[in-house]
């Protein structure tokens, strides 16, 4: 048996974001759990997401990091992204300086398109986005 969580991270290791599509209400649940976010059904099928979206907001974090995995990375930029499939999610935004000035510049821009940019930490591939 492979756990759903392991499936998520193995997918990311290969550059793929998986979601569950409910077979009752057809709602998407991402990241994957054992039941539908919308209707609570336990029946679903796995689908691949495009890994593309639009940046809604982003702001910088502080050091020390909020988790030991990110000690070497902090401060970094946390992005709030609307995926093409209509799911809102958050992840590290790469390629942008984690400074107030850079955040203000980014805030002033609209419709910034982003795509999946898997961040390979020492022990885990994690979701990140980069500007397209």
């Amino acid at each position: 048996m492979t756990s759903i969580i392991e499936r998520h991270y193995r997918g990311l290791a290969g550059g793929i974001m998986y979601a569950h599509r409910c077979t009752d209400c057809y709602g998407l649940t991402f990241p994957m759990t054992t039941c539908c976010d919308d209707c609570g059904s336990f029946t679903y099928e796995e689908v691949r997401l495009a890994g593309r979206g639009v940046l809604l907001f982003a702001s910088h974090t502080t050091a020390p990091a909020s988790h030991p995995r990110f000690v070497g990375l902090a401060p970094y930029v946390l992005s709030h992204v609307l995926l093409d499939e209509g799911i809102a999610t958050q992840g590290v935004l790469t390629g942008v300086d984690p400074t107030p000035d850079a955040m203000e510049d980014l805030y002033e821009r609209r419709d910034v398109l982003v795509e999946l940019d898997v961040l390979r930490t020492a022990d885990l591939p994690v979701i990140a986005f980069r500007i397209r």
């Binding site: 809604l56 982003a58 702001s59 974090t61 990091a65 995995r69 809102a88 885990l124 994690v126």
Partner: protein
């Protein structure tokens, strides 16, 4: 689904310690966490004219076992508060713990299972046991506190992938607010200065607050004639643009307690009781919002449930406490309750209307920044303040006209939205 309690339940007594640091804060330095919890419990029991053995059950809250050393909170504290041999349970709803426990205790009382209950929240967000000592304490290293407190967040995905509470609850929500109401970053910064100024005024008037210095006095201490220059200086950097450090919570050690009894017993109480008129609770994991970071669906659900049960609208509220661990989030929640019109919260702050002597008083004990944030004790500190305001005994920050109805809306690590509607009898 039932939308109200089967019986009448009142708050008979409240207690709250000074929020601070068990290592260095005068008045609490040197105490063990057991003694800190007992101090809050004793105050609440004496306020209710009761002893522990009069009470039916103990609801003991603690969120962070690493710093408290109280993983079995109920059993470890019962003897310290006079409830030995009584039933009880440990509760963890992070920053909403005490008020979630109030609801659970009220449900048990209304069911007829017990006649009274002691709710207790105790937390150490500043200090931890020193080595293996059962009584010596030391400061919590800054890189550990968020790791511990984030344990209440999604451990499958969000936390392992770089979730950051400060950015998610401050910078991103602030940008959402600016965009929704077409506000410039400059105007936002000025308004948040005013929000902080009010909270710090309230803290300066409260001998139990962790920060008892007005923002103006802190600025002067650092050589600034204009406190807004101090606000914009490197001494108050952006924690997550456009949110500055002084718009965030101040971690603290602290304890709070509440005694609840069946309404029929309220007649013989030594002090004015306060009715639990309504409540609502809803939970959601990160991210809490979709397109609009100011739209927190679990807040909407909890507020609707509480207000429906109480039969009130925002226009009926005389006094409001929201969880302002993120100052902007506290304003967003206030607007959601209807206490402040949408988009006018910061304008109200700038006009001084949120002060204890304003027409829309909020977070009158200083909120999470000035009063301090001791996770599982924080909601109880809000309830303590609400009860004291209703009784007209809130000290220097007492509202000129004691409120008849107070609403306390808290967040547990932003995951658990909890709303109480309290009314004086």
């Amino acid at each position: 689904m039932a939308t109200r309690l089967a019986g009448h339940v009142v708050i008979a007594g409240v207690g709250c310690t000074r929020f601070g640091d068990l290592v260095s804060t005068p008045g609490i330095a040197g105490l063990s966490l057991q003694e800190l919890a007992a101090a809050a419990a004793r105050e609440a029991l004496e306020d209710a004219g009761m002893r522990g053995h009069d009470v039916g059950a103990l609801y003991a809250g603690n969120a962070t076992g690493q710093s408290s050393g109280l993983p079995a909170t109920h059993t470890q504290l019962a003897r310290w508060v006079g409830l030995n041999l009584k039933p009880g349970v440990r509760i963890d709803a992070a920053g909403s713990t005490t008020n979630v426990a109030i609801v659970m205790a009220a449900e048990a009382i209304a069911s007829g299972a017990i006649d009274s209950a002691l709710v207790l929240g105790v937390e150490a967000d500043r200090s931890r046991p020193k080595g293996l000592s059962p009584y010596e304490r030391e400061p919590i290293p800054p890189d550990l506190l968020r790791v511990w407190t984030d344990q209440s967040c999604d451990q499958a995905y969000a936390v392992p992938q770089g979730h950051d509470m400060i950015a998610a609850c401050n910078g991103i929500v602030a940008q959402g607010y600016m965009r929704r109401y077409s506000m410039s970053a400059k105007d936002y910064d000025r308004a948040m200065f005013e929000v902080c100024r009010t909270r710090r005024l309230h803290g300066a008037l409260n001998p139990r607050a962790v920060l008892q210095q007005r923002l103006e006095d802190e600025a002067a201490e650092h050589g600034f004639a204009d406190p807004f220059d101090f606000w914009r200086s490197s001494l108050n950097p952006f924690a997550s643009w456009p949110a500055r450090r002084r718009s965030l919570a101040t971690p603290a050690d602290g304890a709070s307690a509440v005694v609840l009894v069946r309404g029929e017993a309220a007649r013989g109480l030594p002090h004015r009781s306060v009715t639990l008129r309504g409540f609502g609770t809803a939970a959601a994991d990160v991210p809490w919002y979709t397109l609009d970071p100011t739209n927190w669906r679990h807040d909407a659900v909890a507020i609707h449930a509480a207000f429906t049960m109480a039969g009130i609208t925002g226009a009926d509220i005389d006094h409001l406490h929201t969880d302002d661990s993120s100052h902007i989030l506290g304003i967003v929640a206030a607007e959601r309750t209807g206490y402040l019109p949408y988009g006018e919260g910061l304008e109200a702050a700038s006009a001084g209307r949120l002060r204890f002597d304003g027409d829309k008083p909020m977070s009158t004990h200083g909120g999470r920044h000035a009063f301090g944030h001791a996770s599982s004790a924080s909601a109880g500190s809000d309830t303590y303040e609400a009860v004291m305001q209703i009784r007209g005994r809130a000290g220097a920050a007492q509202m000129p006209s004691a409120p008849g109805l107070s609403v306390v809306a808290t967040h547990g690590r932003s995951l658990i939205s909890q709303v109480l509607v309290l009314e004086g009898n």
